[in-house]
């Protein structure tokens, strides 16, 4: 893995993230009933798909714990 650095000022990043989430939440909340049903159905399918997943490799990261 290449060198990892961490930016000190992450405030701008989180502000952009929160702003975008807020916009998206607002759009979802004001969407039509049909749209909400569509989103709910997508979530149902995604949840069903996710439940089919099997962990095939897990790092034994804290074996002594």
């Amino acid at each position: 893995m290449s060198k990892v650095y961490y930016i000190k000022d992450t405030k701008k990043f989180w502000q952009a993230r929160d702003k975008t989430r807020s916009i998206l939440d607002g759009k979802r909340a004001s969407s039509s009933y049909t749209e909400k049903v569509k989103v709910a159905e997508k979530l149902r399918l995604d949840a069903k798909f996710l439940k089919s997943g099997v962990i095939v490799s897990s790092k034994d990261r804290f074996a002594n714990k």
Binding site: T10, K42, F49, L50, F62
Partner: protein, 169 residues
């Protein structure tokens, strides 16, 4: 299927060298480990060498004609947010220690349940608290406390929040 194609797309980003590695966090990871809860977007923690590469990632999708709204890139109609590892040591460690999960022959990576809890404690919105409560009984307390200890701030905010959730559950 939508989500499977999104996961395949993430894998292709690694193969093409657009990102070095990734792990899924947020609501979809919570949905994998626990019961389904409302979530709209897919949070993907990614390993990128620099901020320049973060912009290159967006350019890659922009060139491909993907819809981009603010920080979201839409893949198969799924709003995806890429969270670069250089933002936080916690992100970086969460990717390094992620679980490999197989779906219908397709392998992907999810942050471990303990890292997911730590990430949710960082965000700590109302829905994050509820998710943490649901995930606690699936996590190793020793591993979780170790993560919190290693990545907490000077004020011990993550530990305080962890105790707060425990008190409320």
């Amino acid at each position: 299927m939508g989500l499977k194609n999104v996961l395949a797309c993430l894998n292709s980003l690694v193969v093409e060298g657009i990102i070095q590695d990734y792990a899924i966090g947020g609501g979809y990871a919570a949905m994998y480990y626990d019961i389904p809860m409302i979530t709209y977007d897919l949070d993907v923690l990614v390993v990128l060498p620099s901020e320049k590469d973060y912009h290159c990632l967006y350019d890659y999708f922009r060139r491909g004609g993907a819809k981009i709204e603010e920080v979201y890139i839409f893949i198969e109609d799924m709003p995806v947010q890429f969270l670069p590892n250089y933002i936080s040591p916690l992100f970086n460690s969460a990717i390094e220690n992620a679980n490999i999960v197989e779906f219908e022959g397709l392998r992907t990576k999810f942050v471990s349940v303990e890292y997911l809890i730590a990430l949710l404690l960082t965000a700590f919105r109302s829905k994050d608290r509820i998710r943490v409560q649901g995930l606690l009984n699936k996590a190793s307390k020793g591993i979780l406390l170790d993560i919190i200890k290693r990545f907490d701030n000077e004020q011990g905010l993550l530990h305080k929040r962890y105790k707060e959730v425990l008190a409320g559950s």
